[in-house]
Symmetry: C2
Subunit: 190 residues, 2 copies
């Protein structure tokens, strides 16, 4: 059977929505076919097995949540200040807010990976690489604070996004944009 | 049927282990009975329904992960310095490392709560209260930085714990104790 890129992407988007809605355990080829509105048997033509599907879904989430090329070019054209990082964190938050399913799917995969070493290896090749790439970008770009600062900010933003997506009511005494400003100002030197 | 506290606790511990091992979807009274090694039908005598079980399991995780009374008394006897908070964060990390199932169960419940509003209300009464209590303790105790600082540290530690439990391989270029020191030193004023 011939494959095409648009259909593969549609299948991955369907897999991500299914992961966010129902968790990893219910993710089958058949569920993905149904959600993508394609004939039963389609997903099995695109992915060798369920792990390959999960691996590509994780990689695709990182593509969906990545900054646009325009945004990256804008960052690289500007001086590497704390203010530029602050704006980038607000944009990340906006992307995650627009694409809740993507980040929730990643959290589902992380939990499932605690039970399945093969999936953990897959996540190292996607989520792990994403962490390393974030750190590399910050250090190579000469942004304030270096490696330990960007690692601290990464951890804090991960915690903030999880709260935002799962229990925002607990944070109604402040706002997430205010918390983001606090994190950047506290963690990165000026 | 008579109830007793030790058996209730054993059932909650079994529920937490089952949540961490298999996720929320597979958590049934029968699975809890089996894991606790008690006769089928026991859990249904202790909990009115599945939501009541999940609510009490979430509350029990916070009891399991809370600092001991000795530790709290020690903190309150000392001056409210950044160093005291740093030590408390290392102790929290040690407790979570010893009780992986507890924190993983909470993450499972948070994800399930995105799909079930009733469970979200339950988590507000447990995880949400825990957040508010952490902030209150820090502010009332006069620790450095006040409310926004402790909120920032809470978010960062949550992110760190999730990485530690789900994808520690991505952080092998540093160590979690080093990251904890960095978070405290960056986020709290001296």
């Amino acid at each position: 059977m011939r494959q095409n890129t648009a259909r593969r992407t549609a299948l991955l988007d369907a897999a991500i929505d299914a992961l966010a809605d129902q968790g990893t355990r219910k993710l089958t080829f058949r569920a993905v076919d149904a959600r993508a509105g394609v004939p039963i048997g389609t997903a099995s033509n695109y992915f060798a097995n369920r792990d390959a599907l999960l691996a590509q879904a994780a990689a695709h989430v990182h593509v969906r949540l990545a900054p646009s090329e325009d945004e990256l070019a804008g960052m690289q054209a500007a001086a590497p200040t704390r203010e530029v990082v602050r704006e980038a964190m607000h944009k990340l938050f906006a992307r995650v807010s627009q694409d809740r399913a993507g980040y929730l799917a990643l959290l589902e995969l992380r939990l499932e990976a605690t039970r399945r070493p093969e999936l953990r290896q897959v996540l190292m090749d996607t989520a792990g690489q994403n962490i390393h790439e974030n750190i590399r970008f910050h250090v190579a770009g000469g942004y304030p604070g270096g490696r330990q600062a960007v690692a601290s900010l990464y951890l804090a933003m991960s915690g903030l996004i999880t709260e935002h997506l799962t229990l925002p009511e607990a944070w109604e005494w402040t706002t997430f944009p205010e918390l983001i400003d606090q994190l950047v100002e506290r963690i990165l030197p000026e």
